[in-house]
Symmetry: C3
Subunit: 274 residues, 3 copies
């Protein structure tokens, strides 16, 4: 099933509109190409409605937020939504400032998101349970571990039911839930926290996987999360072997997505489905 | 002749002002440095007129368009034009939205472009023959192949005469024409369609080659197109040998431009001049 | 001492707010992660005051300047300053346009900078001794060499006393001075002038080193400059060995910062302290 989801991305090559930040836009575009989809990256409000309609999937990323891009997000989100295209929200640093938290709330009210992906602090913030993060990283006190996993799953499932979106919580253990069924995913490597944009890239992947598999929302999001984690593991192995660092690892990560096959994804996946 | 054109870039080190998108700006700056030129990348309308005057060549790229950057393009284009500096237009995704098409039309009316480079769908759109593209990639139905090559050459030559600019149509076969003479170029590799910004980077190269060779417009554009294609071939060989992917290939592509010598360019060029 | 300064960055992991340009933002974020700090990169005026307060250090980079980002710089700079957080200014291309020169002057008037880093032409411009640069590179006529080193040191020390900031002048020979004591640093490699953003990345490093070592301002800036130069040398060796180019070298540079240990920094440092 996971393999088929990836192969659909490669064969259908969906057009993914990313309204994203200027820090990781290049990596997001290259990972979108790596998985077999085709990226557009414009954030102009002048064309947002049209782009939302024309794309096969939309990814909204709050990384470097300003009022013009928020207008573009709202216009593109509404037109993509009215066309039934899948829409992903990445609420980068949602708890880092009042502006971010309020923008996330507005986006959630006005756009019918298909999936929401963030670290645990970001997801807690937008779900209403938290007021403050430190920058764009998850707070150590929020980290999902074996001790609080059950609580985190309940929390994510509840937020999924309330928002209508598949919720993906990234961390040492990833949680992907549609409120009823939950993937608990153990792929990935800590080095990914030292590469800027791993979360942004994953959200682009999720949009691509969803656009190519619109009827299997939960599975598509889980397959994207597993792909990213698995490719992170492979990239780390290469980095270690060649004795490079986080820049080398970033390149390997995108390269591994480029090369990933459906059967490798099936074999490398480490998850539990409840 | 091709080799001399490249060597002039390396020895004269022209200052190239890029008003471009935030997705591929870093790669554009690095490839400008790789070929021996010096990039500036500001898109502020507050300084556009001054930058257009001070630079040796100007590259205008429509990747992530917004009204402020369009003002900067117009101001810089007019001042660069009045100083006789070569100006390149890259009409990224010109057919993807009404805003893009109208902006491209305005730029064409108000700025005396020396060269225009795009994929076949972009060039068709701005030449008035086409209303819609899918994102930023060329439509499959537009692709230049051996069956429609003659028609594509006639079309590009006619647009060159009408616009006064050298026209470069990128694709599996590249066409570079000044309306009278035409280079038909067969360098390059399909992997380049899986690397974001290959077109943007090429347009930066074209601006650098033109600025260092202002009296040989057609040859300078052709030499840049051939350099990019040849370096793409070399980068693909490295990528294949090391079993990497599109991120690795992107780095190799810039590295190959960094290392390319005039004699390698002469030897590796595969083109026909009519 | 140098080694301890680096180790403090790794152990304290300061949060560094970068208001910077879209050309090199990704590299700045990755090098901030590479040295052990945590980057935020937002340039929205809506959240600038809050981010300036919450961060441990602020880096203001004038690369792609526009009125909204200048407002963000002023708001963040004032709030970071009132909290006593270290603030770095990178006056990219300060002499390249009137807008840049005037913006640099305004920033200097309104923000209590801890350190200012630029090439010699940029520093001369903002210190009032120069009106014009060619793009973002230093003018050849300004280059610091053994013949004019004493004069350059006097000039930088005088500007440090006048501005109250540690001054770092980047070039073949780097100068770091607090007006009383001066580091003359001979690490680095000429290839770094062919990689876009080496200056920007260094300014991000300086902010991280300062934030983790707030009471040793001069030493922290010098340690960052030496780290960058030393990692540039190592990156060049790798580039030469693998026969790559400036893109490969950029990745190695960040990787070397990722791997650099305190004892390697001590051993590799080449400087004189007066």
């Amino acid at each position: 099933m996971l393999g088929e989801i990836l192969e659909n991305v490669r064969s259908r090559s969906p057009l993914i509109q990313n309204i994203t930040n200027y820090v990781t836009a290049n990596d997001c575009a290259n990972i979108t190409l790596a998985c077999g989809a085709s990226p557009t990256m414009s954030d102009g409000e002048e064309e947002a409605e049209e782009m939302g309609r024309l794309c096969d999937g939309l990814n909204i990323n709050m990384g470097t937020l300003h009022p013009r891009s928020v207008k573009a997000m709202l216009l593109a989100g509404k037109s993509a939504g009215s066309c039934g295209h899948p829409i992903v929200l990445d609420p980068v640093g949602a708890g880092a400032s009042t502006y971010r938290r309020e923008t996330a709330e507005q986006l959630l009210r006005e756009i019918p998101f298909t999936a929401i992906r963030g670290n645990v602090s970001e997801i807690k913030t937008i779900a209403g349970g938290k007021n403050r993060s430190r920058g764009v990283d998850a707070d150590a006190s929020d980290a999902v571990n074996s001790g609080n996993l059950e609580e985190a799953i309940r929390f994510a499932a509840e937020f999924s039911k309330r928002s209508g979106a598949v919720i993906a919580v990234s961390g040492a253990i990833d949680i992907v839930t549609d409120g009823t069924r939950t993937y608990i995913i153990r792929n990935g490597h800590p080095v990914m926290t030292r590469i800027t944009g791993c979360g942004c890239m994953l959200s682009s992947l999720i949009a691509a996987y969803l656009a190519a598999n619109p009827k299997r929302r939960l599975e598509a999001v889980a397959a994207a999360v597993i792909s990213m984690g698995l490719c992170g593991e492979k990239a780390y192995e290469k980095m270690k072997k060649e004795n490079s660092g986080n820049a080398g690892c970033r390149n390997h990560l995108i390269d591994e997505v480029y090369k990933l096959t459906g059967s490798e994804l099936e074999r490398g996946a480490r998850y539990e489905l409840r």
